[in-house]
Each structure stands twice: as structure tokens, then as C-alpha cells.
């Protein structure tokens, strides 16, 4: 692993963290009036995958997609404008936080129906196979999504046709307030299930950024060289409430202790410390990195706030492509 890549990873993770935390801070201004699922604590996977994939590789995601979108190179201004439901948003204000897209970045869309984009990624994989390009189609989803039948149908078809699809499961142990033990049979690992379905599957610690980067690089290289689909499961943890800007460890579905244990394992701090320790970056460089990101964020919020709402005529536009 070159330091260059590691530093880029740190920058991407920091950027995701700072964006999410700024949204959290400013949400109570009640100007971002849409359901917003923050990924604070889970920055690693989106950043690492986004860094390994090429811009012309495809990615799809879920309700919790900010990190995936930004990691893949999605435009920050247009994302924030979308969360502000403005006409300059990446979806023209029609989608909101749960429906992001950036075609230039290869981010093909995130949607809010659990499991709903998984087969689409397989379809994009099929399109790649048909066109004979060396692109990859990637889809992010949570531990809840693997409960939908469509997950199983999608993985099976990717295996059947050996399509260039990267399945990325971020297992944060919860679906809304429901722990995985209430939803899935005891002792069943998600990656093992995927393997049994016929896809080469591995798992890893989603809060160990450099290890994640390695695993993603390996999987992407295998897919790109015609090895068929790959499945990666990473364990990680969401810090804030399922939907919205607050912390909610007090309401009873999980313990403060559990949260604190994961917070101890903050992936952004960890990577920063590792890179500082081995001299890949200096403290000043990190501070400068943070400043640059914060400036970008401030400018993007300003853009979002100052942008106009979509004009009323837009209501009837784009129902059908003409």
C-alpha cells in the first residue's frame, strides 16, 4: 500500500465524516427537510470502495448513501442542494437525501426501499458483460437488506452468469432499532450465506481502513480480471440514530456502552493515527486537510442554501423521457 493511497483514503473518510457531522449540526435549522440517514462511524467502506473503483465503474446504494456517493466522487454541492431539496440538487430536488445520483462519478443512484438496488447492480453487471467492457458494478447495502428475497435472487443470478458485480454489505448490526439476532437465524454469517449461494465471499473489520482497502483492492482486481462476482461483508457501526441528526443510545434499543466501545474504534482517528505514526502525514498536513475540507463544506452549504427551489412547472416534467 503506497502512502499516497492511504492519505487519499484518510482525506475521503475525513470529508465524509465532516459532511455528516455538519449535516447533523445544522439539521435543527429545519432547512434540510427530508429523511436523512447519516453514516458517521461507517465512513471506511464507502471511502475505500470509492477509491478503488474507477469513475466509469458503477455504484448503487441505499437510504444511507452519503458516504458511498462522496467516496465514489459524487459532487458535494449537488448532494447538499438535494438534501435542501433545491432545483440545483443532484436529483433536481425530486429525490432528497435518500435518492442521490451523480452520473459523471458513476454513482447510478441510491434508493430507499431496502434491497431495492441490489438487482439493479446485477443488471448493470449484465450490461457490462454484454458490452464487453472491463467495468465493475458495485452495490452497497446493509445487514437488513440481506433479509429480502430479492437479495438472494440477485446474488444467485450474478453467480449463475458470473457477472462483474461487487456486493458490499456493511453490517452495522441493526436495522433501524432491531438487532440482527431478532431477524436472522443464530450463528449465520452473512458472508458465509453469500458463499453458499455461489459467490466468492469474504469479510473483514469495517473499522480498519487499511485492511478494508486491501480487501477491496483484491476483490476488484479479481472481478476486473474476469473472476466473476465478489461479496464483501464489513462489520461496522452507526454512531447516530437510524434516521436524523441525533444520538439515541438512551432510548433503549442499544447500550451506551456498546456505542462507546465502537466509538473507541473510530476509523477516522485510527487511520489518522496510523499515518501519523508511520510518518505518512504530519500533523500540519492533517490540519490543512481538515481546513480545506471544511472550506469546501462551507461553500457547498452556502450553495445549497442559496439555490432556488424547483419551479412549480417541474412537477409535471420528467415523468416520461420524451
Amino acid at each position: 500500500m503506497t502512502d499516497h493511497r492511504a492519505v487519499n483514503l484518510l482525506r475521503s473518510m475525513k470529508r465524509i465524516r465532516l459532511v455528516e457531522e455538519t449535516i447533523a449540526e445544522r439539521y435543527a435549522e429545519w432547512k434540510m427537510r427530508c429523511p436523512t440517514h447519516l453514516c458517521t462511524g461507517q465512513e471506511t467502506v464507502g471511502a475505500a470502495v470509492g477509491q478503488v473503483l474507477r469513475p466509469d465503474d458503477f455504484a448503487l446504494s441505499t437510504h444511507r448513501s452519503h458516504g458511498h456517493y462522496l467516496g465514489k466522487g459524487g459532487d458535494l454541492k449537488r448532494m447538499l442542494a438535494e438534501i435542501y431539496l433545491k432545483g440545483t440538487g443532484c436529483s433536481g430536488g425530486k429525490g432528497g437525501s435518500m435518492h442521490l445520483i451523480d452520473r459523471e462519478a458513476g454513482f447510478k443512484g441510491s434508493t430507499a426501499i431496502v434491497g431495492g438496488t441490489i438487482p439493479l447492480a446485477v443488471g448493470l453487471g449484465l450490461s457490462i458483460a454484454l458490452k464487453g467492457s472491463d467495468q465493475i458494478s458495485c452495490v452497497f447495502f446493509g445487514d437488513g437488506a440481506v433479509e429480502e428475497g430479492v437479495f438472494y435472487e440477485s446474488v444467485s443470478f450474478a453467480a449463475l452468469k458470473q457477472l462483474p458485480v461487487l456486493f458490499v454489505c456493511e453490517n452495522n448490526f441493526y436495522s433501524v432499532y432491531t438487532p440482527v439476532a431478532k431477524r436472522q437465524p443464530a450463528g449465520r454469517a452473512i458472508h458465509a450465506l453469500a458463499a453458499a449461494m455461489g459467490v466468492n465471499a469474504r469479510h473483514g473489520d469495517g473499522n480498519d481502513p487499511l485492511a478494508v482497502l486491501d480487501q477491496v483492492e483484491a476483490a476488484v482486481a479479481e472481478i476486473r480480471s474476469g473472476g466473476g462476482p465478489r461479496f464483501l461483508e464489513f462489520e461496522t457501526y452507526r454512531w447516530r440514530e437510524h434516521c436524523g441528526p441525533n444520538y439515541d443510545n438512551h432510548i433503549g434499543y442499544r447500550t451506551e456502552a456498546e456505542f462507546l466501545a465502537w466509538k473507541e474504534r473510530d476509523p477516522v482517528l485510527r487511520l489518522e493515527a496510523e499515518l501519523l505514526a508511520r510518518g505518512a502525514v504530519t500533523g500540519e498536513q492533517v490540519a490543512a486537510m481538515t481546513d480545506t475540507i471544511n472550506e469546501e463544506i462551507a461553500a457547498a452549504f452556502l450553495f445549497a442554501e442559496q439555490s432556488p427551489f424547483p419551479a412549480p412547472e417541474e412537477l409535471h416534467a420528467q415523468v416520461f423521457k420524451q
Binding site: 429545519w30 436523512t36 430536488g93 425530486k94 432528497g96 434508493t111 428475497g149 431477524r183 417541474e314
Partner: protein
Amino acid sequence: MSRIITYAKAINEAYFQAMEQDPAVICFGLGIDDPKGVFGTTLGLQDRFGSARVFDMPTAENGMTGVAIGASLNGIRPVMCHQRLDFFLLALDQLVNNAAKWHYMFGGQDSVPITIRLIIGRGWGQGPTHSQNLQALFAHIPGLKVVMPTTAEDAKGLLLASIFDDNPVVFIEHRWLHNLEGHVPEEACRTPLGKAATVREGRDLTMVSFSYMTIEALHALDVLEKQGISCELIDLRSIKPLDWPTVFASVRKTGRLLALDTGPEFCSVAAEVVARVGMECFDALRQAPQRLALPDVPTPSSPSLKKVFYQRSEDIVQAVGGMLGRELSVAELEQQRTWPLDVPGEWFRGPF
């Protein structure tokens, strides 16, 4: 004895009473036992009735609907709930291919006494996949009953009646009704399915409405009244079976129909109402019947688009004005709105 409680609380009470009355009643759904308890509607149930009868479930809508159907074939009365109607599109196979026709296709032997609670979202930027109003899909399917209560009292009475009905019932709540308060009897009253409520009597025009649109209609009615127009307001409560006698009698009296709907207009419930009235009461109609429903577009997220997307009381007043050939004022309605249009009131913040 009745007292004032919210619609959400009324639903919660119906659950408690149904589960007390009959040990065969069980309930499950995503988040049913979590700290929020499906907007408060399922709070306390698991503590009281245990986790065998009240349980959370995997995100597997089609399979779990089949599980409900199967259990019901052995005398269980499952009540399933989904925080958004949109999620239940995953389960139309089990609902339509099995539940709706099981009794019929096996010659009237077993039946499927399940109740499916679906919640329609609106506002707060929920947009395309979290605020679809698709009651017409269910109403179109032979063998399903479809219920859409507007008041807290009806929410309780209709939920109890749905749970104890021996057939599959799709019970649709509008999220903007959950905080609405009303007089609700303490006892386990059942409101019969298939009976509309005449909410206001009137002379000049019949409005046929249901669910949240009835609230908008009530606001409109006050303003219309002040401008000398007397409307009869029928709240359908049951979309299917639909209480045609009540609708026809009213239209025969007023000679005018405005059908309201929370859903997209093409093949909507409002279409059915306008069509049937046109077919059955043609001679009584003094002018063309009309409807107010959603335009035929997906739900946008932005408030600037929702403003033109949803029909509000102002639009109802204006539609009535259009029918009667009068310029009517909606100033009063506009003044009443002290909160943003994307929420039902100040209390509503955040996605749910």
C-alpha cells in the same frame, strides 16, 4: 364512556382490546416492539402479551405476508403492520395470489382473517418511495377489503372490526392523521366495514372523501358554508366494500358530486366513485361530476413541488366554486396555515 385521545392511541387501544378478547390475535411488523412502537400505535403490546404474540420481523415483506396467511389458516388472526405502504409492494404476490382468493378458490373452506396495516407517508421530503397512495391497487383486487379510517373513533372501531373480520383486510392509515384527536369510546366497539359516515349534511353538492382528504374537506366546508354553500360530506371509511346506497342517496339529493382522493387519479377510487355515480345517478346529476385527486406523477420530494402536487382545502373550495360558477374566497384558509405546507402541524419533524 368516551374520552379524547389521538388516532395513534386509538389504534393502540384496539390492539390491546383485540388481543385481550381473543388469544388467537397476534401482531408483527418491522419495529413493532422498538422504542417508537410504530408511531406509538404498538407501544406496550409486547410487555403485556409477550414476544410470542407480538414480535419484530425480518425485512422480508412477501415471505412474512405468507407467514401471516399460513397462520391464519389455522385459526390465528395476524395483524401485520408496515411503516410505509410503499414497502408492501414487495408482498403483492402473497396478498393477491393467495390471501385475496384463498376462500374462493378452495370453494369456501378455509379463510384468511389477516389484517394488514399500511401507513401512507406525506411531507418532510419523503418523496417518491415513501409517500405513495396506492389504495386503488388493493381496491381493484376481488376478495380484499380495504379500510381507510379518518377519525380516531373510526380508527379504533374499524381496526377492531377488521381484526375480527374473517377475510383479508388492508387497513390504511395516513401518517398525518396519527396525531389527530377525537372522542373515542373506551369499550371495544366495532365499526362495521362497508358503512360510510355522513360527516356533514348539505344541500348543494356531495363530496365523497376518505382518509386525510376528509380533514381537508372539513376545512373547506367551513369556508364554503360562510360563503353560503352547503355541502354534504361523506367519509367512505371502507373503500371496499363501498357504501353505494349512502353515496347515491346523497347525490340524488344534491345533484352534484365532487369525489376526493389521496391517490393518483387514473383508475383511482375517485374514478370508481365518479363512474358509478354517472352510471347510477345520471338523471339526478345537475352537472358534470368532478374529482380532485393527485396528478399522474410520482411524488416529488421538494416542498415547492409538493405545494402544487397535493390538493388542499383551498383547492377543494376552488373546485366547488368552479362547479357552481362562483368566485370563492380562500383567504381564510390561507391565513390559517401558520406552519409550512410539508408538515401537518408544528409537531411533525423529521421523516416519520
